[in-house]
Homo-oligomer: 225 residues x 2
DNA sequence: AACTTGGGAATTGTTGAACACTTGACTCTC
DNA sequence: GAGAGTCAAGTGTTCAACAATTCCCAAGTT
C-alpha cells in the first residue's frame, strides 16, 4: 500500500504554513501589513481561506490583528524579549537538570542540530544558523517529555526568531554562540547536568544581551528618523 | 463621553466565548459532536463565522477537529492529566518561591478567590467551586509577572477544568481541598514561601490523585458498557 | 496656518449560496 | 454474513455581495 503522503492538510493550514515560513525567514519583516485580497490572489485561494490562515497565525503570535485595520507581522518589543528570556530560564534550566541517560535519542538529534549550526555559520547563512540555534534549544526542552510544553516553547522561540533574523549582521557575530552550544552538548553527554545548567544560564544571559543591544540600536535609529 | 462599552469584539470571537463557557461549565461534555449548520442556526450567525470560532477553540485545545468528520469537545486522557500536572509543578512551585512583599495586589485577589471558593462549596455549586479553585492557582502564576506564561497557564487549566466539572460528585468531596488553599494563602501572606512551596507540591499531588481516581472509574465504567 | 468637517475610496467583517469531496450507513448481491 | 455499489449528510472551499469601519483628502471655518 502506497498511501504514504496523501495530502490530508487543509488548504487553510497550508496557507498558514507558507506564511509562517515567510515570516520566520525574514521575507516578511515585522510590521509588514498584509492584505486579504492581495494574499488570496497571489496564493490562488479564496479570501475566506486566507482569513482562516491569518486567524491561526495571530493565535500563534506571529501576526497581529487590528479590527478593520487588517493584519500585520508582529513586532517584538524589548519587554517581549525580556518576557521570553525569563521563560527560557524558567524552562530550559530544569530541562537540563532533568536530563537522564535514557535520553540518548534527544542527544543524537542535538548533535545533528549542532553540526547544522556550525555549517550554517561557516556558510554565513544567518537565517539557517538562527534556525539551528533555536532548534537546539527546543531539543533541550524535550528532556521534560511533555508535548504541551514543547509546542508552547516552539511558539515562544518562533516569536524570538522573528526578531533575530532581522538583526543586522554588521552589528553581531552569528557564530559567537557556537562554542557555548558545543560545551552544553558535551556536558550533557557526560552527564554533568549541574555544571551544564550554570553554563546554560550564562549562555542565555549572553544571548539576551546580544539581542537587546541590537534591538536598542534599531529602535534608536528608527526614532532618529 | 459615554463610549464605555462599545461592542468591539468580532462576532466570531463572541461565538467562541459562548462555546468556551458552555464547554467549561460542562453543558457540552467531552466527546460531544458539534455540527456547523446547527450551531450557526441556533446562534443566528453564518456558517463561516462558526468555523472561525471552532478554529479558535481547537487551537486552544477545547475542541478537536477531524477532517471531514466535524469537531467534537476534546476529551482528556490520563496521559493528558499527567502532562498538565507535571507542568503545574514546574510552574507553580517557582511562582510561590518568587512571591514578594510587593505582590499584595495578587494576594488580595487570591483572598477574593478563596472566599468565592468557600461560598461555592457551601452552596454545593460544583462548577463555581472548580472555577474559583483554578482561578486561585492562576493567581499563583501571576507572581512570575509574565503575560505569556499567564495565558498559557489559563489554557492549561481550561483543559483541566473541562475534565473536572464532569467528575461525579458521589465519588469526591468538592470541599476537600479548601483547607489546603487556605493554608497556602496564609503562608504567602506571612512570607513563608519555602514552606508554602512544599505544601503546594503536596496539594498538587493530592489534587492529581483525586482526579485520576475519578477518571479511572469513569473509564472503567465506559469500558464495561 | 491650524483645525474641523464631510465625503468617498479602500479594506475588513459577515452573510448566504453553491459546489467538490469525504464519510458513514444502507442496500444489494453472492 | 462479507464485500461492492449507492446515496444522503456534513465538511472544505469558493464566490459574490453587502454592511461597517477606517483612511485620506479636499473644502470650508476660524
Amino acid at each position: 500500500m502506497e498511501l504514504a503522503e496523501i495530502n490530508r492538510i487543509s488548504v487553510a493550514d497550508q496557507v498558514a504554513s507558507i506564511l509562517r515560513r515567510r515570516i520566520l525567514d525574514g521575507e516578511l519583516p515585522p510590521g509588514t501589513a498584509l492584505q486579504e485580497l492581495t494574499m488570496a490572489a497571489s496564493l490562488g485561494v479564496s479570501r475566506n481561506t486566507v482569513r482562516e490562515a491569518t486567524r491561526i497565525l495571530s493565535l500563534e503570535g506571529l501576526l497581529k490583528r487590528n479590527a478593520h485595520r487588517g493584519v500585520a507581522v508582529a513586532q517584538l518589543s524589548l519587554e517581549d524579549v525580556a518576557e521570553i528570556y525569563q521563560l527560557r530560564h524558567l524552562l530550559e534550566i530544569p530541562a537540563v537538570l532533568a536530563a537522564k541517560m535514557e535520553d540518548s535519542d534527544v542527544l543524537t538529534e542535538m548533535r545533528t542540530a549542532l553540526e547544522g549550526y556550525e555549517e550554517a555559520v561557516e556558510g554565513v547563512d544567518w537565517v539557517r544558523a538562527v534556525r539551528f540555534d533555536l532548534h537546539f534549544h527546543t531539543l533541550l526542552i524535550r528532556f521534560h517529555r511533555n508535548r504541551r510544553l514543547e509546542s508552547f516553547y516552539q511558539k515562544l522561540l518562533s516569536e524570538l526568531r522573528m526578531g533575530m533574523v532581522l538583526v543586522d549582521l554588521r552589528h553581531d557575530d552569528p557564530g559567537g554562540l557556537v562554542p557555548a552550544h558545543r560545551r552544553i552538548y558535551q556536558l550533557l553527554t557526560s552527564g554533568e547536568t549541574n555544571q551544564c545548567a550554570t553554563l546554560l544560564a550564562q549562555h542565555l544571559r549572553d544571548s539576551e544581551s546580544r539581542l537587546t543591544v541590537v534591538m536598542d540600536q534599531r529602535i534608536a535609529r528608527a526614532a532618529a528618523k
